[in-house]
């Protein structure tokens, strides 16, 4: 994972497998970065993610809750078609916005 802070927006760039193993390794780092930077917006970029499962969905929903408590917003970016299916199934887009985003690291 890579990240960058531009203005009030914290960008996370995930790549490879976004499964149980990966999320275990990323979770605390992401929680701490959000706490540390207190961004108004977090954008999660999934363009380079080849695999995602319900663990990934759980992670996204948990960060959404973390950000909501601070009054901040979460945006999901650049999902592949298959990955979008998974997010749709979980109703994630009813509460979290989605965009194609070109801001890269």
């Amino acid at each position: 994972m890579k990240h960058q802070m531009i203005g009030n927006t914290l960008y996370f760039y995930f790549f490879g497998d976004f499964d149980n193993l990966a999320v275990q390794n990323l979770k605390e780092i992401c929680i701490d970065l959000i706490d540390q930077w207190q961004p108004a917006v977090v954008k999660m970029d999934f363009e380079e993610v080849s695999f995602i499962d319900s663990t990934g969905i759980g992670f996204v929903l948990a960060r959404y809750k973390q950000l909501s408590k601070m009054g901040s917003k979460l945006v999901i970016c650049n999902l592949s078609r298959t990955n979008q299916t998974l997010f749709h199934m979980s109703g994630v887009f009813q509460i979290i916005s989605y965009e194609r985003n070109g801001v890269k690291i």
Partner: protein, 147 residues
């Protein structure tokens, strides 16, 4: 007809091993890209459930997977654990229901498996382990709608 069995410890790093091995075993059927993703996701959900819920995160339980396919490309996958079992299966099946919200589980595993499988059922009871049956008809590359 072809079949295989694999058995591994309930360690988190064995889940990617399981899903990639099973997809590799199914390669002679020339599955479509989307089918590969769906199979990988189903295995990930079933094995993660066994590890996180069945064995409550303990890494010394055994997970067994049995895969079988027929000449018509019908595949059957059975994922078995000897963990704590599920008391109320229909409750567990409900989208977004999870007993482990504190671990940031989404409660979507069962829903994902039932969406991607043509037939999906779970046999389990409290203290008796869990057996997940997944059946899927492969159509292969030609009918894949992957972009």
């Amino acid at each position: 007809m072809n079949e295989m069995k694999m058995r591994f410890l309930s360690r988190v790093e064995n889940e990617p091993f399981a899903r990639t091995s099973i997809v590799a075993f199914l390669m002679p059927l020339n599955p479509g890209m989307e089918e590969v993703m769906e199979i990988k996701t189903m295995i990930a959900e079933a094995v993660t459930n066994a590890i996180i819920h069945g064995y409550d995160g303990k890494d010394d339980g055994w997970v067994e997977i049995h895969v079988r396919y027929e000449a018509d490309h019908m595949i059957d996958i059975v994922v078995k654990d000897e963990g704590c079992g599920i008391e109320d299966i229909s409750l567990a099946m409900q989208p977004l229901y999870t007993t482990k919200a504190h671990l940031e589980r989404s409660g979507m595993g069962m829903t994902i498996m039932s969406t991607f499988a043509d037939d999906f059922h779970v046999v389990s009871s409290a203290g008796k382990g869990c057996v997940v049956h997944l059946r899927k008809q492969l159509h292969g590359q030609t009918t894949s709608t992957h972009q």
